[in-house]
Symmetry: C2
Subunit: 216 residues, 2 copies
């Protein structure tokens, strides 16, 4: 166990903010980036199905190409890393079987032993939902990954800006996602805040707990 203290967690969650201006000269080290990718990889998902793919864009030309599709927002250019969270569309039996094969391999069990689990997944997620509902489901899952990444980056002292302000259709087109059975859901830029980002000093705005919580 490598648990941390409550005040460490809360200090870092208070420290983080949606960084508007990154220091373009400060890059996330390869080691730290590998940590963030491992954190993303470890994200929990419904039945462990991981209906997602992450595009990590550092290439400056590609970033310039994507920037207009994110309404010219500066973070696309000046952040160290850009992650495009792509959700699987029309999640299929084959997708489920890819996961089940991985379960069998990782846990050393027969695929036969996984028949009840398979039945639950196929019944609940694939046959139990139409394509629209399944796409909403996979998109929901990917926001767990976003939440995990933002908190993971915060505790490591890495800045991030989650962004929904981009044209999903254009991103899908530029990255060729449709033919891969994927659709962009949300993006995040990561790096280190610029010393001149005035938003860093702004008071954090949250509803008071009594408005957010009901105890029963």
């Amino acid at each position: 166990m490598s648990t941390i203290k409550s005040n460490q967690l809360l200090d870092q969650l208070n420290w983080r903010y949606a960084t508007k201006q990154f220091d373009a000269d400060k890059k996330i080290s390869a080691a730290d980036w590998a940590t963030l990718e491992t954190a993303l990889q470890l994200t929990p998902s419904s039945a462990g199905l991981q209906p997602w793919h992450f595009f990590v864009v550092t290439n400056p030309e590609m970033r310039e190409k994507l920037k207009p599709a994110a309404y010219g927002q500066g973070q696309i250019g000046n952040a160290s890393h850009l992650v495009v969270f792509a959700a699987k569309t029309n999640f299929s039996e084959a997708d489920a079987d890819a996961h089940l094969a991985n379960v069998a391999k990782t846990q050393g069990v027969s695929t036969e032993a996984l028949t009840p689990l398979r039945g639950m997944i196929i019944g609940g997620i694939i046959k139990g939902m139409d394509e629209t509902a399944r796409n909403a489901w996979s998109r929901n899952q990917i926001y767990i990954a976003l939440g995990n990444l933002l908190t993971s980056a915060a505790v490591l002292g890495i800045d991030a800006c989650p962004m929904e302000g981009f044209d999903r259709a254009q991103f899908d087109e530029i990255l060729g996602l449709k033919s891969k059975g994927l659709a962009s859901a949300v993006i995040a830029t990561l790096g280190y805040r610029s010393a001149t980002d005035k938003y860093a000093a702004a008071a954090k705005v949250r509803f008071p707990k009594e408005k957010l919580f009901t105890h029963i």
Copy 2:
């Protein structure tokens, strides 16, 4: 800054798992629970709008009432805390204005100065989406909160089980959510794993990084 080391974060993310059996005698302390509520409160959301409400259920009678609507899953009974993540339905101008009033108050700015921000929110989220899209949007946001809570609990050494296997309509009915303009999206149980939960020792199943990431 109270940053933590990469290996601390990854140790804790590897330590966590979807806890199936909690030790019913081990309760999360009031101090630790307050930390988790603060972490939830600090969750980022689209334009900071926090389109959510969290029901924290510890009352044993209410837990027993909810249990059949979660297909009898044991965690509902034996976890220390149950959180029902409820998303705002039909998010409205009034909801946006409640947030903007809080921005004005917290940051000491006039509501007039927030007119451009208001225009963006009303245009992008309220007039720019129909009710179905807006409900999907608020549900997406709440999964950021789920991801944040799961990672926050993990780094503190608190166990959790995110759960989609429950009847949303029944939960809404039992908790009276509809009349409050809310709909249950996902739930999580939290507490401490039982020494006899065999799933604690199971190898974690994730796709390899080369299947999850594309670098551009």
